[in-house]
C-alpha cells in the first residue's frame, strides 16, 4: 500500500514515532548541553589552577631576584615546547619578553582573570607592534569585541585565557594557557550530538517502519475484516496470528462477539420466520372471515358472530405478542426488583387448584405431592405462570394416554436443588432431538400442531427458569413426559 506523507502522518504509528522522536531528541540535546557546560567549566577551572601554580612559581622567582630573575625564568619557560603563554610588558603595554607576539587589544589593560577567551598569536605567527597600536587605539577592556581590528580579521589566532598581574614597578605580567583542548572537546561533543540526533532520527524511522507499521498493518487488517463483515459476510472472522499479543486478544474478543451476534441474528431470523408462520395463519383467517362476512348477504346475527370471532382471534394474537414480549424481557435480564420469598408448595397447590376443574373436565387425574414448605427467592407470578403453562401442557397431552390419563406434580428437595416435576402419562416426546427443541420459541412439534396454543408456553417457562438461575429439563417418563423445573437451593436473584 503506497502512502503519501500526509497519509502516513495520519496514522497513529507515525504520529507516536514522531512524538517520541521529538521528546528523546529534546532530552538528548538538553543532556549534552548540560554535560558540555559542566565539562567546560571543569576544564576552565583546571586551566586556571595550572596558571595559578605558574604565577606562584613566578612570584617566588621575583621575590628571589627581582625583575631580572623573573625575566630569565619567563624566558626559560617560554622556550619549552607546549609552554603556557607568558608576557611581560612595561606600563605602556610595550612587550619586554615572553612568547606572545600579539594579543587581542585590551587584554592586558585589565588586571585579574580575563573574563572571556581571547585570541593571540605566538612569535613567528604575526607582528609584534599590532599589540601596541591595538592597545592604544582601543583602551576599553572589550576583550571579545575585535571586529574592527585588522589583526583578528584574516589571520588565524588561538584562543586562550590568562591572568594579568601588575608588578610592583608598574610592569604588566600575563600568564595564560591555550584553550586548544576545550575547543577540541567542544568539537567532539558537538560531533557526538549530531551523531546521536542522527542515530535517533534513523532509529525513530526504523521503529516506525518495523514496529509502528507492523501494528498499523494489523489494525488495517482488523478494519478490513470488519468492513467485509459489515458488508454482509457475517461468517467472516478477524485474523488471529497466534502470537497471543494484544491484537490477538482484541481479534479473539471481537470474534466471539461476532459469533454471539451471528447466533442472535440466527435466533432472530428463526423467530421472525416462526412469527411470520404462526401469526400469518390467524391473521389470514381473520382477514378471510371479515371478507367472507362482507361478501354475502347475512342476517345481523351473522355479522355479530363474525365480529365476535374477530375479537377472539385478535385477543389470541395479543396474547401471543405479550408472550413474545415477556420472553424477550426475561431473556434480556428483567428487573430483579420484584423478587421475594416464594413458597413453592403454596404455588403448587394454587396452580393445581386452578387447573383441577379443567383436568376433571378432560378426564385427567391431577395429583400433587408437596411434602414440605419449600421457599425460594423469586417472583411468585412468574413461577406460577411457568408451572401453569407446564401443567396446562401436561393435561392437554395426557388425554391420549393408553391408560387412565394422569398428571402428577411433585415438589421435592434433591441435594442442593429444589425440583418441581410435572409428569404426564401421555405419548410424551420419544425423540431426543424433538424433546430438546420443544422449549424453543414457536416450536410446536408436528403432532401438537392441531392443539390450540401459541407454541410459546414452554419457551416462556424456560425463560422464567433461566431468570431464576434454574433449569427446565424435559425427560422421558415411559410413558409420557416429565418436565422438571430445577431451582438452586441457595437461590439468589
Amino acid at each position: 500500500m503506497a502512502l503519501s506523507l500526509p497519509a502516513i502522518m495520519k496514522t497513529t504509528a507515525a504520529r507516536l514515532s514522531a512524538l517520541y522522536l521529538l521528546l528523546f531528541a529534546l532530552c538528548a540535546v538538553l543532556l549534552v548541553l548540560y554535560m558540555t557546560s559542566l565539562s567546560a567549566r571543569m576544564l576552565t577551572a583546571q586551566t586556571q589552577e595550572t596558571i595559578n601554580d605558574e604565577v606562584l612559581g613566578l612570584a617566588r622567582a621575583y621575590q628571589r631576584g627581582g625583575l631580572p630573575v623573573l625575566v630569565r625564568v619567563v624566558e626559560a619557560r617560554s622556550r619549552q615546547p607546549g609552554a603556557n603563554l607568558y608576557l611581560i610588558a612595561d606600563a605602556n603595554g610595550q612587550i619586554l619578553t615572553g612568547n606572545v607576539q600579539s594579543l587581542e587589544p585590551g587584554v592586558i589593560e585589565t588586571e585579574g582573570w580575563t573574563t572571556e577567551p581571547f585570541s593571540y598569536q605566538r612569535f613567528g605567527e604575526g607582528e609584534l607592534d599590532r599589540l601596541r597600536s591595538g592597545a592604544t587605539d582601543q583602551p576599553a577592556p572589550q576583550t571579545g569585541d575585535s571586529s574592527n581590528t585588522p589583526q583578528s580579521t584574516g589571520e588565524k589566532g588561538h584562543n586562550a585565557i590568562a591572568l594579568v598581574l601588575r608588578l610592583p614597578n608598574q610592569m604588566i605580567m600575563l600568564v595564560g594557557r591555550d584553550l586548544g583542548e576545550p575547543e577540541r572537546f567542544r568539537a567532539v561533543i558537538s560531533r557526538a550530538l549530531t551523531l546521536a540526533l542522527g542515530m535517533m532520527g534513523l532509529g525513530g524511522i526504523l521503529i516506525w517502519f518495523f514496529v509502528g507499521r507492523a501494528a498499523l498493518k494489523r489494525i488495517d487488517s482488523v478494519s478490513d475484516a470488519s468492513r467485509r463483515i459489515m458488508g454482509g459476510d457475517l461468517s467472516g472472522r478477524l485474523p488471529v496470528t497466534g502470537a497471543g499479543d494484544e491484537f490477538d486478544r482484541l481479534s479473539e474478543n471481537l470474534n466471539s462477539m461476532l459469533a454471539r451476534i451471528a447466533m442472535l441474528n440466527e435466533g432472530l431470523k428463526q423467530v421472525s420466520d416462526n412469527i411470520a408462520h404462526d401469526l400469518k395463519t390467524p391473521l389470514t383467517r381473520l382477514r378471510n372471515r371479515a371478507e367472507a362476512t362482507l361478501a354475502g348477504r347475512h342476517k345481523i346475527e351473522d355479522y355479530r358472530q363474525a365480529l365476535e370471532g374477530t375479537i377472539a382471534e385478535s385477543d389470541q394474537l395479543i396474547k401471543t405478542f405479550n408472550a413474545i414480549l415477556m420472553i424477550s424481557r426475561l431473556e434480556a435480564g428483567y428487573s430483579s426488583e420484584q423478587t421475594g420469598p416464594v413458597d413453592l408448595a403454596a404455588t403448587v397447590s394454587d396452580v393445581v387448584e386452578l387447573y383441577e376443574p379443567v383436568a376433571e373436565e378432560a378426564g385427567v387425574a391431577l395429583e400433587a405431592t408437596a411434602p414440605e414448605a419449600l421457599t425460594i427467592n423469586g417472583n411468585r407470578e412468574l413461577i406460577g405462570q411457568a408451572l401453569s403453562n407446564i401443567v396446562d401442557n401436561a393435561i392437554k397431552y395426557s388425554t391420549d394416554a393408553a391408560e387412565a390419563p394422569k398428571v402428577r406434580v411433585v415438589l421435592e428437595r434433591l441435594g442442593n436443588e429444589i425440583k418441581l416435576t410435572v409428569t404426564d402419562n401421555g405419548h410424551g416426546i420419544p425423540d431426543d432431538a424433538d424433546r430438546a427443541r420443544a422449549t424453543e420459541r414457536f416450536v410446536r412439534l408436528e403432532k401438537s400442531r392441531s392443539q390450540p396454543g401459541s407454541g410459546l408456553g414452554l419457551s416462556l417457562a424456560k425463560a422464567i427458569m433461566t431468570f431464576h438461575n434454574g433449569r427446565l429439563d424435559l425427560l422421558p417418563a415411559n410413558p409420557g413426559l416429565s418436565v422438571v423445573m430445577s431451582f438452586p437451593l441457595r437461590e439468589t436473584h
Binding site: E308, L382, G384, Q385
Partner: protein, 239 residues
C-alpha cells in the same frame, strides 16, 4: 345460558364521568367514542399538565391515565393528585406491562393497571368496577343478588333460602362476582382478584371454575343468575 347484549348490560350501571389522559389522539378519540357508546361521558386530556388541571378541577368518577405522556408522566400526575387529597379511582394504561411496572403503578396511587394492547371490553369492565359509586359494597357483610345471599362472616351461601355448599375458592369467586353484581367481570379480573395471578392462562381455566360455580348456584333453580357476556366475561345479575 343466556347472552345479554353487551351495551344494554353496561347501560344498566348508570352513566359515569370519565377523564382520559392519553397523548395518542387516535387512541383517545376511540376511547371517548367507545365510552360514549357505553353510556358514559368522557373528557380527554392530551398531556400530563392538562390532565392534572382537569382532574384537579372536575369531579370525575374514574380516570384512565396513560403512563407515558408529554409534559408530565402519568405516575407523577397520579401522585400529585393523591397528595392533594384527590381519591378518584385511577386505571393506569401502560405499554410497558411487566409485573414490576404494575407494582410501581399501583404504588404510585393507581387502582388498576392495564397493558396495551388491551381489549376495550376489558378496559370498560375494569373502569366500571373502579367506579367508586358502584364499589360501596366493600363494607357490607351480607351480599344479596336476587334470591341469592352470601354471608361474608359465616361463609354461608343461600339461594331462595336453600343452603349451598361451596369450596373456599368457589366462595371467593362468588363473593367477588356478587360484590360487582350488575357489572361485567372479565376472566383476567377474576384471576387477579380471586387467585392473585396476573398472567393470561393458556386455556379456559376460569371458564371451567365459573361453570362449576354456576352449576352449584343455578342447578335446581328456575332462573339463571350468572350470565356469560360474550367477548367480555361474566355478570351476576338477579331478577
Amino acid at each position: 345460558m343466556t347472552a345479554p347484549q353487551l351495551s344494554n348490560e353496561i347501560a344498566y350501571n348508570g352513566s359515569m364521568k370519565i377523564l382520559i389522559m392519553e397523548d395518542d389522539r387516535e387512541a383517545a378519540d376511540y376511547l371517548q367514542k367507545a365510552f360514549a357508546e357505553a353510556g358514559h361521558t368522557a373528557h380527554v386530556a392530551g398531556d400530563g399538565e392538562t390532565g392534572f388541571a382537569l382532574a384537579d378541577a372536575g369531579d370525575y368518577d374514574v380516570m384512565v391515565v396513560d403512563r407515558l405522556m408529554p409534559r408530565r408522566d402519568g405516575l407523577s400526575v397520579i401522585a400529585a393528585l393523591r397528595s392533594r387529597g384527590n381519591t378518584t379511582p385511577v386505571l393506569i394504561l401502560s405499554a410497558l406491562g411487566e409485573v414490576d411496572d404494575r407494582v410501581t403503578g399501583l404504588r404510585a396511587g393507581g387502582d388498576d393497571y392495564l397493558t396495551k394492547p388491551y381489549a376495550f371490553s376489558e378496559l370498560l369492565a375494569r373502569v366500571e368496577v373502579l367506579n367508586r359509586r358502584a364499589s360501596a359494597r366493600e363494607s357490607e357483610t351480607v351480599y344479596r343478588v336476587g334470591d341469592l345471599e352470601l354471608d361474608r362472616l359465616s361463609h354461608s351461601v343461600k339461594r331462595a333460602g336453600r343452603e349451598i355448599t361451596l369450596q373456599p375458592r368457589e366462595f371467593r369467586l362468588l363473593e367477588y362476582l356478587m360484590r360487582h353484581a350488575g357489572q361485567v367481570v372479565t376472566r383476567t379480573m377474576l384471576l387477579e382478584n380471586v387467585w392473585d395471578y396476573h398472567f393470561d392462562p393458556q386455556t379456559n381455566v376460569i371458564d371451567v371454575h365459573v361453570s362449576r360455580l354456576r352449576g352449584k348456584i343455578e342447578k335446581g333453580f328456575d332462573k339463571p343468575i350468572l350470565h356469560t357476556i360474550r367477548g367480555a366475561g361474566y355478570m351476576l345479575k338477579g331478577g
